[in-house]
Symmetry: C2
Amino acid sequence: MTRFYESIERHLVAVDCVIFGYDIIDKNLKLLLIKRRFEPLKGGWSLPGGFVNDDESIKEAAGRVLKQLTGLEQVYMEQSYAWGEPGRDIGGRVITISHFALIKIQDIDPVMQEASAAHWRNITRLPDMVLDHSNLVGRALKELKERVKVKPVGFELLPEKFTLVQLQDLYEAIYMKNVDKRNFRKKILSMNLLEKMDEKEKETSKKGAYYYKFLPEKYEEFRRQGFYFNLDVN
Amino acid sequence: MTRFYESIERHLVAVDCVIFGYDIIDKNLKLLLIKRRFEPLKGGWSLPGGFVNDDESIKEAAGRVLKQLTGLEQVYMEQSYAWGEPGRDIGGRVITISHFALIKIQDIDPVMQEASAAHWRNITRLPDMVLDHSNLVGRALKELKERVKVKPVGFELLPEKFTLVQLQDLYEAIYMKNVDKRNFRKKILSMNLLEKMDEKEKETSKKGAYYYKFLPEKYEEFRRQGFYFNLDVN
DNA sequence: CCAAAAGTGTTAGGCTTACACCCATGC
DNA sequence: GCATGGGTGTAAGCCTAACACTTTTGG
């Protein structure tokens, strides 16, 4: 493969993952962070990342990092931004391509999480982070906010079945503002993307709240017909 | 700088530029393409690109490529996407970070353009392109469409002074659909971002159309006050 | 005087927003 | 029977979209 381009400078290329999770109990949007396991800056709070191997795509590299940390595959992940200031990594010039992933907190393999020393941290109270990782987080969060407005990806952060209250709480956590309950319900239900189940969630209230589930096939069908998801909320 | 990370595989990292221009006369959105000057695929239609040097950021590399081709600096440019499939470049594994730039066609240095064998090609009639460059274009175009709706960047493609008809034609070329004249004018003028000049453009009509200019300072001021540019058009 | 392009307002309907009370149940 | 959280409807106004004629002037 490498017959041409031989005299050209090469670079270390990495991927970093901004892994979002949502805690349905304390209603906080969270990030999965690790303590950096190598020098320089060993022990500092860091995004999970890794170098891109010769035989894998960027996407595969990011997927590999995510799987090593969480045990999860087929996770919703988007490329975010390529960071390449020559001085951004004090250990040498590294170009990193940040991604953000949305995972269901409860799906994570607890053994793996323990082994990798990964920690969930509230998005509102992040520690100081290594290198420019706070910037990567900031950008990913901004992109997430835009994305959940126009694509039904919030469900990636919730269990299969969830109540409308939980869904609203999630949106409030992401938008970082309150949302009108009646308008929110009207809007999301009017899209016909949710199926109401018979079962009720009874932990958090005496009356109980109906579970719903998201119908991805419906979304695909409507999309093909020109429908645009929109949950722009006051 | 390179004390750590020594044993790790390195990669060729490039930038490619999707350079948009708008021809006010024939009302076409165009791309600046070149004939590839080196093997493999020498002579094929290609996006202008180049490898990232050791001492420059990704943004600088893209700026350098753009300047070499057009003579222009301080051009509106956004990073688009990092493309890294191992097999995407038949000459060896190259990770490329695509960008899109918006330039005023008439600003380009004609000597430079000649020398670099750069050609403007209508977006609606692009030639077959080398490697995966059609994909990079597709993505950049999609991002441009989104961007002009929510950010006043269309003006980057027009001369300093332009008529409302010209502005509308530009939006029609980007959106690839017709726009209602009265609604378009109402909307753009209501934002108070344009200044009407006394002068008229008299080439294209006997009556003549008033020139306007965009006021970037106004935009900045309004932005700070929480204003969001929006030109979502029917 | 005519052809060609610039410029201009109004209306109906849909969507957004604001807002407060009843319901079901466990204790 | 009461406290707790779940669930529901309506009205005002704002924004969007549809639509056609008048103005100017060079030839």
